[in-house]
């Protein structure tokens, strides 16, 4: 037995809502996280090139905030 028109409409609506929720969720939660990961990977690659290839070393920096 086929779906009624209102059944088809409901299914379409549910799919649309799911898609909208997923899109918003990706834009607000996942996208910054994913692009953040990509950015960190890019920075890390540059860091490896800078520090390793140029023979630079890391020396721990001083902080003052915790001394408040």
């Amino acid at each position: 037995m086929g779906m009624t028109d209102s059944g088809k409409f409901s299914a379409l609506m549910a799919a649309s809502v799911c898609l909208a929720v997923l899109s918003v969720a990706y834009g607000t939660v996942l996208e910054p996280y994913v692009s953040g990961l990509a950015e960190t990977a890019r920075r890390r690659e540059r860091y490896e090139k800078t520090v390793t290839e140029k023979g630079l070393s890391l020396h721990q920096g001083m902080y003052w905030k915790e001394k408040d």
Binding site: T40, T50, L58, H59, W64, K67
Partner: protein, 324 residues
């Protein structure tokens, strides 16, 4: 994922994500810990006359062992050392020179002082601090030429090891600092007051850039602030601008403009105004009381010195400065 780190060394207060480098190009957040990329890696090392810094009231006619690393906390469009100050540590040729070796070389070249200079010493704070500690033990004085763009706590801590500081007061408006230097004026003024409070011998350099910070009213305002907040004995060097970096389209500062700034400073009550980057009588020191020629300079060369035990040879008045 490692967290962000906020650098609290300079007033820019960069918040750095993992593996992100600060605006100074020299400090990096790696896995939630802040590191310096330039510790023990100077890209400029030289033995200079102390007059070149410029210090005119601090151990005249002595040599200063001078070091700098890449990087700067500001981005002045007129920077005279932009090739290294606006470069990342990986873009310059640096050598390995740990703090103990800096002091060893300073002793070898009979330098009375070590100067942290050329770029901005704030960016190599840890390197400067450790070197200064060792230098103290060997009786070598520590001086810096800085833009004064540093927060109070690190500056007070450093000041305990500093004997003298020459601070670039680039202009007396927030607009100039924002548009031309990428910073703010207020923190620099605060740093000057802190250095004075900490009894660090202080001299000020003002690079006069035609059309940008040569307004006589502004220069007068700056000089009056110096006299009021720091006292009349702080030497002020008005330096001649030469077209550089991003301001190549401007002319060099006319001598008349510099002479006017010199007179404005004198009228405001500054006892020791000087002109720099240009040969003139105003690069010599005269007694503020009897006007005797105390230190005659030709460029960085001291031709005669009439200061005896810190006093004018003629009238005996104490001359502000560090003379021995």
């Amino acid at each position: 994922m490692a967290g962000d780190v906020q650098c609290d060394l300079c007033p820019t207060e960069c918040v750095l994500g993992n593996y992100q480098v600060g605006g100074c190009r020299t400090r990096i957040n790696k896995d939630g810990v802040l590191y310096s990329l330039v510790y023990g890696k100077p890209c400029a090392v030289a033995v200079d006359p102390i007059e070149k810094k410029p210090f005119f009231h601090f151990l005249p006619a002595t040599s200063a062992f001078s070091i700098a690393t890449a990087g700067c906390v500001l981005s002045c469009k007129f920077c005279q050392n932009w090739q290294i100050s606006q470069a990342s540590p990986d873009e310059v040729d640096a050598q390995d020179l740990p703090p103990a070796d800096v002091v060893r070389q300073a002793l070898y070249y009979r330098c009375r002082s070590i100067t942290y200079t050329y770029t901005e010493p704030t960016v190599f704070y840890e390197y400067m601090y450790d070197t200064a500690q060792i230098a103290r033990k060997y009786g070598i004085r520590n001086t810096m030429h800085s833009c004064g763009y540093i927060k109070e706590k690190p500056l007070r801590r450093l000041a305990k090891l500093l004997d003298a500081a020459d601070i670039d007061l680039k202009a007396f408006t927030e607009d100039f600092y924002g548009r031309i230097c990428g910073g703010r004026l207020k923190p620099v003024l605060d740093a000057l007051v802190v250095l004075r409070q900490e009894n660090v011998w202080l001299e000020i350099t003002n690079l006069v850039v035609p059309g940008l910070n040569d307004d006589p009213k502004q220069i007068g305002e700056m000089c009056r602030w110096i006299v009021k907040e720091l006292g009349p004995d702080v030497p002020v060097h008005f330096s001649r601008f030469h077209p550089q970096y991003k301001l190549k389209d401007l002319p060099p500062t006319p001598l008349a403009t510099l002479k006017e700034a010199h007179q404005i400073a004198r009228d405001a009550g500054i006892r020791y105004p000087y002109l720099g980057n240009i040969r003139s009588e105003a690069e010599s020191t005269f007694c503020h009381k009897c006007r005797l020629l105390l230190i005659e300079r030709i460029g960085y060369f001291v031709k005669q010195n009439n200061i005896v035990k810190g006093k004018c040879r003629s009238c005996g008045v104490a001359i502000p400065g560090v003379w021995s």
